[in-house]
Amino acid sequence: MVFDLKKLFVYLKDYTRECVLGPLFKLLEASFELIVPLIVASLIDRGILAGDRGWIVKMSLALVLLALVGLGFSVTAQYFSARAAIGFSTKLRHVLMAHIQKLGFAEIDRLGTSTLITRMTSDVNQVQSGVNMVLRLLLRSPFVVFGAMVMAFTIDFSCALIFAAVIFVLCVIVFSIMLMTIPMYRRVQHQLDSVTAATRENLTGVRVIRAFCKEEGEVAKFTKRNKLLTGMQQSVGRISALMNPVTYVVINLAVIALIRSGALKVEAGQLSQGEVVALYNYMSQILVELVKMASLIILLTKSVACGGRIAAILDVSPEQQDGTMRPAKDAPRGSVVFEHVSLQYPGAGDESITDVSFAAAPGQTIGVIGGTGSGKTTLINLIGRFYDATGGRVLVDGMDVRKLSMADLRSCIAIVPQKAVLFKGTIRSNLLWGNEQASQEEILSAVHIAQADDVIAGKTLGLDEPVEQGGRNFSGGQRQRLTIARALVRKPEILILDDSASALDYATDARLRRAIREMDNPPTTFIVSQRAASVLHADLIIVLEDGQVAGTGTHEELMNSCSVYQEIYSSQFSQEEVSAHG
């Protein structure tokens, strides 16, 4: 468990100075605190018992001076600790975000979105307060505890042995409680994930939930998970709550032993009354520090559990290895070749696509058509190497995609996904996703080709109209056309429309396709569609059925040779239209 955390501590490296200075100033403050009982002892023995009033005043002033210096040290310590802890968590969040972005789709699918979000937010916060407290207290408390013991040894050896025994017993207690609670806190955090998931799911599915009048059922489900969480929190709380009372009992037993053996020594003349008071004061200091330690340890166990969850994410390494090669300079740009490609998703029982082969020349339009679950999306996901083929190979610009640098590969591809998603910002900031450097003209021309002129025109602020998260302030069709424009701004060599016209009416869909074909340097365009009309004019149509290629060719060829294609076509067009267009 501590091993997990090593991975995280690396990110404290930039704050080495703070990490040393913070505890150091804390230790200085603590050492001054340790002098206090000695001063009081001398105040009693020399001031009171010997009746030296001037000494009493002097010693009291010394106490004030110690307090003042202690204040200076501890403020400095707080500052360095806060800087280190916050710098650490900032860095950690950055690293996590960067790491998550590097993960492949297969990994993200597996981990799930909500857990990634809790780990980036509440877990990191928890670790941050853990680091802060550790720097402030973790060294200080043991230092005071051991310091008190050392000071006790300077007063009387056999009495100090009691200190040593007490400290040993306390360590055993503290560690066993810690060992018991750490896994429990981990489970609590896991359950919190499930509560988070319930909340998120409810928010995203609000329309369906209300349509099916499932509000009460959702509340019941949430309450159940929440109750489970509360139960877990309470049971771990019960164990943590033992820490203070148990240490209190141990310390008081030690005080009893201390005074008893002290009394014997005083009786024998080996110890003064003031020294017994000093020993007692040191024991009290240990108690005070332990109380602080206890609350620190509760916080710490939580932090360790959270840190472990973060480290677990950092441990997930992307399975795909990035390639380094670039396509040859003279190679034609925008060619895509599949050679006997198969893909089986991790954990899936069967291949999603099997033995797919075809070749697309630069500038061609490729139609991909087939039934639900026939593997259309899988096929196009392989072009941008979002998953790696488990059989055969995919070539883009004549190179195996696994050998190309992923950034280079994806920079020449633009995808318009099935689900049209926009991001918080403005229309412009969304379109610039395609290409940061795009000029106003380039943006407007992309908008024009995407048939989205009226979307922009309909907004008071035009391109600078704000977009809310997910693009909720736009209709499905508007979003879809903007996502197409976003892809076109990229001026891609390969354009992939993954069933992207589904929210468009036929007229807009047709105008869109014509506009893309009439572009100056038309990209190699993959049109994935349910509609025969959308792929009708493609240079090559790939017909998929259950992950297998049922036929490839032009519309005319397929109408003659491919029964699956014929069926699709005739199911869509009425008899007259079939004879008119077929």
């Binding site: 209190y248 024998a268 036929y506």
Partner: protein, 586 residues
């Protein structure tokens, strides 16, 4: 100052809300309070016993072992009792805190169910999630600390005062006069940091929203190689968060050193006056030892209380954000005498409806429509013409601004939402599935449905064949929003869901947009029999699927521009005819 006062006011208000949640746990709270008093009294009695013991060991040969023995036994008994009380008290405090927090979360969640869609559509899900999860967490931490330490702290202060007074009046005065300084210091720091904590909370919310977006749409981010840009955006917020977190954390962490300093001064004062008194014979050495312990114990709770105050401020800031969510006005409740339609026929009358999402952008104006039971209405029009708005209104996701919608002659606002919505079956463009088994997802509309009924519905929706091929068939667990199912498979499940309940009215919003035409063709047949005798609204782009509708609404820019059957509209040679002609334009 005015700002501070406002802060205080807001905090007090939040505090009162919190108290209301704690009220059900009042008996436990009182018990905890009683235990706190007992354990504090015992803890305070121990230094007196120790003082007594020390006075028994004056010097060599002058040790009173009998007195010592009884004092030591008393210490042991006190310590054992204190420990017992403390543990029970902590356990009770845990219980109160976690249950209160659970209650708040449950309330918030239940409240979300009643929030108007207008609110939910306008607020990022990530922000709401952050309010419900991390804010409530921080609140729980603060509340727990508050309980464990505030009680004992206050009780210790009072108890110490009393015990000290029994020992010496003058020294007690020294302590009492200096200590309030630490409260002043603590209060000064707390008021300054409240706004810093609020800013930190708000920045965290902003960051969570971005994380939600970036991770939720990770595939898109990767496809566009936008990772670096997103990371830069993230870093910008992250840097701001660092700044405001550093301020909040550092300034709030000053409380401890400052109050500890005041304590040390008190300690020095007690040492001075106490030692002088002892030197004058007015106090024993054991008495001084007790006093010094007390000086520590008396000031320590001030420390803790100020620490608790900071923590509570943070907690209150978080609770405040939480209550903002809970206080968000609910959708207008069902009318008091809302009816339920028994055996609805599906006659729909829309009269003079005005509706817009934002007041300054009118969308639908003066819309009227009569639909007889069993009729099929198709809604067509160019993208973005407001077709989905009709669904929002029919399902009463949004209320009309003017006019009325009647079902079987009853105004929809006079029908309970539950009754209205369960009379309408809906398949939306955005498919949504819940984490659970396939069977649970299909049986959403009728949780009591038998497996045979579920399978029959799945067969009717042509989902049976792909479900059968899944590893565990109908018991296959699917993750958040469908996990690895394809868009089309998800949609088939959504259709199966409606097939199972077969309500008298149907709304199909581009229901077939992600299903291939062959499957769609089969579904059309299933739909046709399902729609038989059911009033249906179909939003679709495929003219072939709506050709046989009893009524076609052609929409453009929020308005219904044409209305009639396929033939009538073609004959009219208007906008519909234009749309139809362009179908095969390449």
């Amino acid at each position: 100052m005015a700002k501070q006062a406002k802060n205080m006011g807001a905090q007090l208000k939040t505090l009162r809300r919190v108290m209301r949640y704690i009220r059900p746990h009042l008996p436990w709270l009182l018990l905890s309070l009683a235990l706190a008093l007992i354990s504090v009294a015992l803890t305070l009695y121990v230094p007196i016993l120790v003082g007594r013991a020390i006075d028994c060991i004056v010097s060599a040969g002058r040790v009173d072992f009998d007195g010592l023995g009884s004092a030591l036994i008393a210490i042991a008994v006190c310590a054992a009792l204190t420990a017992g009380c403390q543990w029970v008290m902590n356990t009770i405090n845990n219980r109160i805190t976690y249950r209160t927090v659970a209650d708040i979360r449950n309330d918030a969640f239940a409240h979300i169910q009643k929030l108007p869609l207008k609110y939910l559509d306008a607020h990022p899900a990530g922000d709401t999630v952050s309010r419900m999860i991390s804010d409530v967490d921080t609140f729980a931490d603060g509340l727990l600390m508050g309980f464990t330490q505030l009680f004992t702290g206050l009780a210790t202060i009072l108890g110490t005062l009393i015990f000290m007074l029994t020992l010496s009046l003058t020294i007690t005065l020294v302590v009492v006069v200096i200590t309030p300084l630490s409260l002043l210091v603590a209060n000064f720091i707390a008021t300054r940091t409240y706004s810093m904590f609020r800013l930190q909370s708000a920045t965290r919310g902003e960051q969570t929203a971005l994380i939600d977006e970036a991770i939720g749409e990770a595939k898109l981010v990767a496809a566009f190689g936008h990772g670096e840009k997103t990371l830069a955006q993230f870093d910008e917020i992250n840097d701001r968060l660092r700044e405001c977190s550093l301020q909040a954390t550092f300034f709030s962490s000053l409380t401890n050193p400052c109050t500890r300093f005041v304590n040390s001064i008190v300690y020095a004062g007690v040492a001075l006056t106490g030692a002088l008194a002892a030197a004058g014979g007015m106090l024993s050495v054991g008495g001084l030892s007790s006093f010094l312990s007390y000086a520590n114990q008396y000031t320590k709770p001030f420390n803790e209380i100020s620490g608790v105050v900071t923590e509570l401020q943070n907690a209150l800031a978080c609770a405040g954000r939480m209550f903002e969510l809970i206080d968000e006005p609910e959708q207008e409740p069902d009318a008091e005498f809302a009816q339920t339609l028994c055996d609805p026929q599906g006659e729909i009358a829309i009269r003079g409806v005005d509706f817009s999402y934002t007041k300054d952008r009118p969308l639908i104006e003066g819309f009227s429509l009569d639909v007889k039971p069993g009729q099929h209405v198709a809604i067509v029009g160019p993208t973005g013409c407001g077709k989905t708005t009709m669904i929002n209104l029919l399902m009463r996701f949004y209320d009309v601004d003017a006019g009325e919608i009647r079902i079987d002659g009853h105004e929809t606002r006079d029908i309970t939402r539950q009754n209205l919505r369960s009379s309408i079956g809906m398949v939306l463009q955005d498919t949504w599935l819940t984490a659970g088994t396939i069977r649970e997802n299909i049986a959403m509309s009728r949780p009591d449905a038998s497996l045979d009924e579920v399978i029959a519905a799945a067969k009717a929706a042509h989902a049976h064949s792909f479900i059968r091929r899944l590893p565990d068939g109908y018991d296959t667990v699917i993750g958040e929003n469908g996990g690895q199912l394809s868009q089309g498979q998800k949609q088939l499940l959504c259709i199966a869901r409606v097939m199972l309940s077969l309500p008298p009215m149907l709304i199909l919003d581009e229901a077939t947009s992600s299903i291939d035409t062959r499957t769609e063709h089969r579904i059309q047949k299933a739909f046709a029999s399902m729609m038989q005798g059911r009033t249906s609204f179909i939003v679709a782009h495929r003219l072939s699927t709506i050709r046989h509708a009893d009524m076609i609404l052609v929409m453009r820019e929020g308005r219904v521009v044409e209305q009639g059957t396929h033939e009538e509209l073609l004959e009219k040679n208007g906008f519909y005819a234009e749309l139809h002609q362009s179908q095969f334009a390449g």
